[in-house]
Symmetry: none
Subunit: 193 residues, 4 copies
DNA sequence: TATGAATGAGGCTTCATTCAT
DNA sequence: TATGAATGAAGCCTCATTCAT
């Protein structure tokens, strides 16, 4: 199945991009990892850039759907925060490349992603929308204070990202998932009324 | 003066690296921007990598000294947080490259920096130490709760970084500095007892 | 056939290296001579240095097998000396690059070859071993006097090399092959009992 | 004294060229070794090539004058051979660069030297003439057989060069000078009537 | 679909040489 | 004479992409 293979290439690329960065991941390397020929990669993706763009959409959609499932639950927003923190660090443990990709590729290769709409920001739109829904939900339930969305967003995602970075730098003694409660609480304190 | 020129190259590189990322900033581009010959760059810095490393040290030392000055003041830690947020966004307004550099180059080119100590993490040590001092100060004064350093660090720096990222992506309607109070408060809520 | 082309590149490189020396033979020049693109050369050899090393192995093996065939004959060592001198100068007439390579590249670019074993000396091992066999054979047959191997080696190979050098410098009126008898005799006088 | 300094540069260059080869010896390196500025080197020698040419003349004249002094002695040619072998290996022990220069620079950078006359061969003319005188002397005294000059030359100088090469490759257990008698004998056997 | 040899532009870096001081 | 910053051409090598098979 062509679609199967395409996804497989995508996953492999995501992993390699995350590990080595965009520029240090060559098409020959991806091909080798896939046990495919270089030329054949181009039968599935028209360019390396396109591969990177598809990867961000893919990673973003995983995060978005993870958060969506939690959003859909009938639990307090405090619990939602906690659950997302846990889910997030689970992803980091199981498929760190999904998160790392944002840090290693998306953040530093702006030009790659910036041609459609808001500098490629749209690529992560699905996820951002879900975060927004979480906050609105919290406000509606009188759990969260009203505040500017992007400030709250930064506290939430910035904190998670900060821990991720520190984890990647190997300066943490414990795995972030073991601090999930603490992290969720820290975030929650900032958001709650 | 040779030292002057060296610093000038450093600032230019910092700016270009921040704007385009490490790989998309070529030595010829830096040279052109400096109105120097390509070869002459190498009379000042032995390699492009070294240039990037010097840049991180430079950027890090600016942030560290900014925070140190605030730390040294005789004000509450709440105020210190606020002052640092303001200072931070002032830097972003005046020399965004200093901050962006961390986001665009440091975060995503680990291998570039990793040979000395903790994967290049040492390069930012001065700054991190200062953040630690701020937190310890807060705890001592009974303003901050006791909590794991790296969690608090992530809330603090992650939040600032998150806003910076959003600012860089041009999704913010207001300049971050106009939300300084709000951001500082959001951070503070998370840190305070 | 990939192997065919690889050998063809090797021969071309050998020739150019011999003619111009290692440093004055550029990859673009080799590519041009091969009517290939520069990049494609690197599909066959990972570096210019490697090309030079492969060339020395190639040249060395030709000399070694030439001498081996003669060694295997059932003739006096005096005749063997003569036959090798003839064979040697035949090579010089037909493929001078094989011999010149030693003079122009191997002798003078020690650092290029020195990492494995005795400073790259190992690369010529097959040939040297064969020379040693010739001498031992001569001693066993009571034709050659017993003497230090490396002294005898220098007389033998040094003399051939000296003529080669003079030939290359175009100071000889006659082709060395026309003096083969005389050269072989001169060498023989030094080796015989 | 300008002439003094010029000679000093020449000696330094000779040494560096011999050690690293022509291409791996940079003018900045020579300057550094001389504790002079790069530009000032050019006040003494118009180009790097010229420096190399002057070096060969210099090295050649030392060899020539060494041999001339021996030639002028009133001793047998057999003894002359021996004395020259000793003198030659003394040079190698004390100033190996003089000999190495021929092997490392002269042999492999033909293009450097080949513009005046016989491919730069003229540069070594003084020395060659002296060798010729030695042989003619030997023939006149009925010590040496009559044979083609270049064959005899190759035996003589080729053998010395062969040992030098092996010495440089560090494959010899003993210093060549300790085999001087043996080497001189080996050469002599080839030359004598 | 699949292969992988081939292309060629472009990046980093070096260095002989010049020149303003 | 002396300095060393500056120039710029050129070399090695990489790699996204194409194309003949």
């Amino acid at each position: 199945m062509k679609e199967r293979k395409k996804e497989s290439i995508l996953m492999t690329s995501l992993r390699l991009f995350s590990k080595n960065g965009f520029h240090d991941t060559t098409i020959p390397l991806i091909a080798k990892e896939m046990k495919m020929s270089v030329g054949n990669i181009y039968n599935y993706f028209p360019s390396k850039n396109n591969l990177a763009k598809c990867a961000i959409k893919f990673a973003s959609s995983i995060l978005a759907s993870t958060l969506r499932k939690i959003n859909d639950k009938d639990i307090s927003t405090k619990e939602k925060i906690y659950e997302f923190v846990v889910a997030y660090y689970n992803i980091i443990e199981i498929s760190p490349e999904i998160i790392e990709y944002f840090l290693r590729v998306y953040l530093s290769n702006r030009s790659l992603f910036s041609q459609e709409g808001d500098g490629g920001f749209e690529l992560a739109r699905a996820f951002i929308d879900e975060v927004e829904r979480l906050f609105e939900d919290g406000v509606k339930k009188r759990e969260f204070r009203e505040q500017k969305f992007f400030v709250a967003f930064s506290v939430f995602i910035g904190t998670l990202g900060g821990m991720t970075f520190l984890h990647g730098e190997r300066v943490l003694k414990n795995r972030p998932i073991n601090c999930a409660k603490e992290i969720a609480d820290a975030i929650y304190r900032s958001l709650k009324v």
